[in-house]
């Protein structure tokens, strides 16, 4: 790794002040950023560690019944403590491996927006709200393509608020070497409709499968997905782990499995 200075703010205010510098970058749990910096694919003059910001840790329920998770909360904590939203706790408990879950954070995962990450699917399907030091961003506006988000320079995710669906499930087809999804689908059934978010399949990152949402809102059963056919293979990631047609088919299969698991 190239040399850098580490700054350890204790409050959101101090973290935001430290990130005003052009040379500074936020450090969540470091499970992606540090390996990337070691490979010299990223560098910064200064890293601002968010792990010491106490007000960004922990899980609570707000007055609207939403599960609110601090941006620096680890996957292990969400898996253990988000019992009010079992499908989300299950997603968190299947990210990476135990040691990674003890360090990686929800804010870090969302800010990075890896096209194969798990959390973006949970956030988008749940219609969650991403709260930053400056504003609240709807999930539909937050994810803007591979590794791209609505976050401005120096803006940090302080909290994520999840409405709890009536039924939900996350089904992940594991890419066993990386333990990222090859394709994974989060299905959430709310009183006013169903949301389906797909990760790992598209080079543009997480997306909503609107045809499946319409079909499942009318008939919440695995059969409703089977009638839709597969997405266009040309829109899917194609690599040595699976070509576009394979991923397109996996999207249908994992969606049907998620519906079955949620029923």
């Amino acid at each position: 790794m190239h040399s850098f200075e580490l700054v350890k703010p204790a409050t959101i205010q101090d973290a935001v002040a430290a990130l005003k510098s052009d040379e500074a970058q936020a450090l969540g749990g470091g499970q992606t950023l540090l390996p990337t910096m070691k490979a010299r694919l990223a560098q910064a003059e200064q890293l601002v560690a968010l792990s010491g910001v106490a007000e960004m840790h922990g899980i609570c329920v707000d007055d609207d019944g939403r599960i609110c998770i601090g941006g620096a909360t680890t996957h292990a904590t969400v898996a253990r403590e988000a019992s009010g939203y079992p499908a989300l706790a299950s997603l968190a408990g299947r990210i990476g491996d135990p040691a990674v879950r003890n360090r990686g954070t929800i804010g870090g995962s969302l800010a990075n927006n890896d096209p194969s990450a798990c959390y973006p699917a949970g956030v988008l399907a749940s219609n969650a709200t991403v709260v930053t030091n400056a504003r609240e961003i709807d999930a539909d506006d937050f994810f803007q393509g591979m590794f791209e988000t609505a976050l401005d320079e120096g803006e940090i995710i302080t909290e994520v608020k999840f409405p709890v669906p009536e039924k939900a499930a996350y089904e992940k087809f594991l890419q066993p070497a990386s333990r990222f999804p090859l394709v994974a689908v989060f299905v959430a059934k709310f009183s006013d409709g169903v949301r389906v978010a797909v990760t790992g399949a598209s080079g543009d990152g997480v997306f909503r499968w609107s045809e499946a949402e319409a079909a499942l809102s009318a008939n919440f059963s695995p059969d409703a997905v089977k009638g839709l056919g597969d997405l266009d293979a040309d829109d899917m990631i194609s690599d040595l782990h699976g070509d576009g047609a394979y991923r397109a088919h996996l999207v249908s299969v994992m969606t049907a499995r998620a519906v079955k698991a949620a029923v």
Binding site: K8, G30, K38, D97, P98, A99, R179
Partner: protein
């Protein structure tokens, strides 16, 4: 360089660290505690797993300055007070849970974390929990047996296979 102090295996230890110094390098080069291994350096193999404030982490993906003041347990802290092998270490020896031994420090530390959470895991629990620890000798069967034995459960002897 900044001085970083942690309680390592019960003893207060201080060594210098740059901003970029990884916990594993602080342990190995700063304290000369070379029991914790660097396998892949990309946070996939798990040879560098140590416990920080009681939870297992990959010390190649944690900055030393970030965990200044933490309580750290490494493989060197897993032996009994009299220097004899601890329960998990002894089980790894008894069940031939190591071949070249390179992954063993991380395997033992992950196994200890598992048994703290789940004192009587099933074989499937063990295999699932050790997902982030890679044994390049592929000696997984005996590693799983060793962890099962360390939890006090009956395990078929190695010679029977």
């Amino acid at each position: 360089m900044t001085n970083v102090t942690m309680t390592v295996n019960g003893k207060s230890r201080t060594a210098a660290a740059e901003g970029r110094t990884l916990l594993v390098d602080w342990l190995r080069e700063g304290l000369r505690m070379t029991g914790t291994h660097v396998g892949c350096d990309t946070s996939q193999c798990g040879a560098c797993v140590v416990h920080v404030n009681g939870v297992a982490m990959k010390s190649c993906s944690v900055l030393a300055q970030e965990v200044d003041g933490a309580e750290v347990t490494t493989i060197e802290g897993m032996a009994n007070a009299d220097g004899s092998l601890g329960t998990i270490q002894q089980a790894f020896q008894d069940y031939h849970g190591l071949q070249c031994g390179f992954c063993t420090p991380g395997m033992v530390m992950s196994a200890a974390a598992l048994l703290k959470e789940n004192p009587r895991p099933t074989e499937a629990d063990v295999r699932h929990y050790l997902e982030g620890n890679i044994c390049r000798c592929t000696g997984y069967h005996n590693i799983v047996k060793a962890v099962m034995a360390a939890s006090g459960q009956q395990v078929a002897p190695v010679a029977a296979e």
